[in-house]
Symmetry: C2
Subunit: 138 residues, 2 copies
DNA sequence: GCGGTAATTTGAATGATTCAAAATAAGTAG
DNA sequence: CTACTTATTTTGAATCATTCAAATTACCGC
C-alpha cells in the first residue's frame, strides 16, 4: 500500500507534506518534530516547523503514527502503531529503540492496585545506556 | 527525622524554601512546580516560580524527591523515593496515583530484547480513567 | 476544469523550563 | 557572638517545544 493510499484510507488527504513526513518517519523512527522538519524541508521547501507539528498531530489522531514522550525529550513519533510495543531510552544521549514485549506478557502489565482507576493501557519505558554511549564511556 | 535534618543529611542547607517545598509535597504528592509554588508562596512570600524550579531540581538531584513526566503533563514531583513504584495517570484530567508494583515483580520488568542497550531501570505508566472522571462521564 | 473544504502557511502567543548575574542567608570557624 | 565563605535565592531575561488563529493555498469529488 502506497503512502498516499494509507493516508486516504485513514480519511486524510494525501498531501506532499504528509507523504514526506511519513516517509521521513519510515527511515528515522523515534524522531522529534524538528528532525522530521529538517528532512521534510528538502522535499517540501515551503513547509515550516508549525506545519510539521500540524501534520504529526493529524497523523497521530488518525492512527497513522504514534507519539511518545520520554522524560527529558521532545515528543517523538514513529509509524509502528497498533501493537503494544515499548521503548528503551538511553539516559545519556536520548537514543530510543523498540522493545517488542516484556517477559510475562499481558498479565505483567496489570497493576496490583489501581487506586480506583480504570486502566486501559500500560506504557513501559526502559532506561539504560545505548551501545554508543557505553563504548565512549569505556 | 525532621525535614531540616533530612535536608542536611542529604548535604543540603536547610532553607525555608526547601522545607516548605518538601512539606507541600508531603500533603500534595504528584504536584507540578506551579502547584508547589502556590503553596510555598504563602509560607515564603519572597519566593518565585524559578526558585521552586531550582529547589525541586536540587532536591531531585539529592534523591529527596522524584520527578516524573507523564506525557501531556508538566513535570510532577513526589517525596516517595527509593522504591520502584509506578503510576496510574488519568488520560482525561491528568490525575496521578501510585501503583505499588506490577504482577510478576522484577522479572516482569526485563525486556525480551534491548537492542544492545544496558537496561538500568524500568518505568511503567498505566493510563486510564480516574474515579472522578468516570463518575462525571456517567 | 470547478468549487467546496481540508490543509498549509504565516505570524504571533503560550507555558514550562533553564540560564546567568547580583543579592542574600546558612553554616562554620574563630 | 561575629565575621567569613560559599551555597542558595532572587531577579530578569531567554529558550524551547508546542499551540493558536487568520489568511492563503491545494486536494479531490463532481
Amino acid at each position: 500500500m502506497s503512502t498516499e493510499t494509507a493516508l486516504r484510507n485513514a480519511g486524510l488527504r494525501a498531501t506532499a507534506g504528509r507523504v514526506a513526513v511519513l516517509e521521513a518517519l519510515t527511515s528515522m523512527p523515534h524522531s522529534d518534530a524538528d528532525h522530521v522538519f529538517r528532512v521534510v524541508a528538502s522535499a517540501v521547501p515551503t513547509t515550516s516547523i508549525q506545519s510539521v507539528h500540524n501534520i504529526l498531530a493529524d497523523l497521530t489522531a488518525a492512527g497513522l503514527t504514534r507519539r511518545i514522550e520520554p522524560a527529558g525529550s521532545a515528543a517523538l513519533f514513529e509509524r509502528r502503531v497498533g501493537d503494544n510495543h515499548h521503548h528503551v531510552v538511553c539516559s545519556q544521549c536520548g537514543a530510543v529503540d523498540d522493545v517488542d514485549c516484556v517477559v510475562g506478557h499481558a498479565p505483567c502489565l496489570a497493576p496490583a492496585t489501581t487506586a480506583g482507576f480504570t486502566v486501559q493501557t500500560a506504557e513501559v519505558t526502559f532506561w539504560g545506556t545505548c551501545p554508543e554511549c557505553a563504548a565512549s564511556a569505556a
